[in-house]
Amino acid sequence: MQKAIGKRAISSFISLFLLVILVFFLSRLTGDPAALFLPVDASEEMLEAFRERHGLNDPVIVQFFSYLGDLVRGDFGDSLRKARPALDVVLEAFVWTLQLALITMALVTVAAVTLGSIAAFKVGTAFDRFTSMLSLIGASAPDFWIAIVAIVLFSVNLGWVPTSGTGSVWHWILPICVLFIRPFGLILQVVRGSMLSALGSAYVKTARAKGVKNRPIIFVHTLRNAMLPVVTVIGDQAAALLNGAVVVETIFGFPGVGKLMIDSILQRDFNVILAAIMVTALAIFIMNILIDLAYALLDPRIRA
């Protein structure tokens, strides 16, 4: 197991390194940050001075090696736009994203696994059909639209929660609810499907024949086996959230890493783009290891 994780770590760092190279060179092909930072009526001299000050005039390959050199010393460079360390900017935003992703995924997992298992157990009933419909709507709903409608309904008309922003527990409710919907729909489907096939398997029939009650059948026998594909999907969805929920962050004015990344791409704030990519990649890498551990926990065959 340790060996496997070690291997995984090495291959992850290699791919991260390749990604950094790719982003470094590609982003520098796409536009001039000087022209974006300074107003359109800035003179050529001002632009030149800006490029010179930020080392943008050096050959790209020179810029790259100087960036790598700094990186090795733990220096991610300064944000061009904000004139402060890029890593600080990214970590500040990432803390928000991490909290949002963890809370949302915890709620989604509990809700989807519970409802999905019950639906599979009561397959064909009204309850099953209702949850299937719910999950289908969830998996296909456009979050942009839902976010705006939720604000109009719950904040403007009903006045239950604030429209957007941060500041109190109440500010978290709408963003979490909107983020909840899609992964909930998706995971619910997977849980139900996976449970159905597990419930049809020979060992459940054997357990039933022995007279084991329903509840232990779900929670002791089938759920554990049915969880393997579910864990994969949960990991997938959590990774998407860790990359930042751009739409939700933008609409709710939530200071997360997704919006930061989009803004810094638009503004060609290279150091922030790179720092954001490395931080989120590291988080996703750690999460993948946790998922591997979860597999091992669930399935003794993997431990070997």
Binding site: T30, G31, D32, A35, L36, F37, L38, P39, V40, D41, A42, S43, E44, E45, M46, A49, F50, R53, S79, R81, K82, A83, R84, V89, E92, A93, W96, I148, I151, V152, S155, V156, G159, P162, T163, S164, G165, T166, G167, S168, V169, W170, H171, T250, I251, F252, G253, P255, K259, D263, L266, R268
Partner: protein
Amino acid sequence: MSYSKFLAGALLASTALVGAAQAQEGGVTVVLSEELDLIDPCMATRSNIGRVVLQNISETLTELDVRGDGGVMPRLATDWEQTDDTTWRFNLREGVTFSDGSAFDAGDVVHSFERTQSDENSCEISRYYEGMGVTMTAVDDSTLEVSTDDPQPIMPLLMSLLTVVPSETGMEFTREPVGTGPYVLSEWNPGQNILLERRDDYWGEMPEVTSGNYVFRSDAAVRAAMVETGEADIAPSISALEATDPDMDKSYPNSETVYLRIDHSVAPFDDKRVREALNLAIDREAFVGTILADGTEPATAIVPPTTIGWNSEVEQWPYDPERAQELLDEAGADGVPVDAEVTLVGRTGNFPNATETYEAIVGMLNEAGFNMQLQMVEVAEHEQYYSKPYVQDRPILVGAQHDNSRGDPVFSMFFKYDSEGRQSGISDERVDDLIDQASAATGDERKALWSELFAYLHDEVISDALLFHMVGFARVGENVEYEPTIATNSQLQLAEIGLK
């Protein structure tokens, strides 16, 4: 934790929430479209930075009267005079202190200016003084002398852009701005909010508003909703689509002008008939109240009508597609490649309904016989088309929006029309000459020269296809009084907000 304690906690949290907007007695919350990257006073000419910093934290020697027609008014300077052709003398207000307690004097102004010229930062306001050879000298604590290479009749107006910082301020960008203004920066939580609080020792009249809390939402619908629910008091910019409540929503000319920039050196636009046809083929009136907001005005100049020298005699191009077609046919018969494919480059999200506006224009132009196609690009790519060196391998029109709320065309004309201007599509000796003359002239002569230039560009050169003077919408909540002005794009003085 006992159940009742938990309940009490929850109750406390919910009351904290309800009072969010009116957290402080007499405070207002302003919701801006994007977070400030910087808060340095020397960047205050950037829209959202100006709305927080300008005249709230940092003040200037003079101030343009945008609510009346007082012209350039005193602020940190009490009066000024031109002592010779190239020298201005400003008498400074005495008894003014910075928020750090230090006294304000002429040395601070000199330092503030030199700081904008430093190569350790990228201060935006330095561009207004470029190439003038400005030297500032502190004659004594309360007298400042400003000399330039050539006569600069608008020096008092230019001083309305120079935000004054104490002479101790370092050259690099500061995140803790200190100014002479009525408010001080008290909190900045990145991504969340910026809080300004009123000073007790301000030199001028004490403003009514005790604090200004700035929050940031990129979606206009959310900004509008926040004022509606009372979470914010003012949203200085919402879109026409959201401006549905006449009690709260106020429109204002936002000093932006939309136009199509033509590169006169690329065929077929090197031919004047083709440029005229372009202007005749666009039905400007058809946009007003439909795709663009009510109150939008067809443009005959690149600056809004409140600018000095505005020429009311210049007539808007009529909508005459038949005549446009004739002109194109004529030019075509003379060998001008009028059927060459032309790309109209527009910037997504440049103004509300930008894409729809350009789509409609392309439709109108094709109707009149042009061969147009639309390319909407994001800001960085747009910049590559808009500024020199131009892309010239094919005919390109650049749709752009230009902002001048400063009352004088000098801030626009060189960049947009001089042969050397970075966004100029023309190279015309008479234009260069008129810009030079007008920039150095004063009073009625200045007005007359600008007027002449506007008419010449519009009627004789047909320099571009001027389209619209835009309007903006602000939503103002029921607890405050605030009237937006032509300067609302660049500043939002808390002192101009009244409480109900």
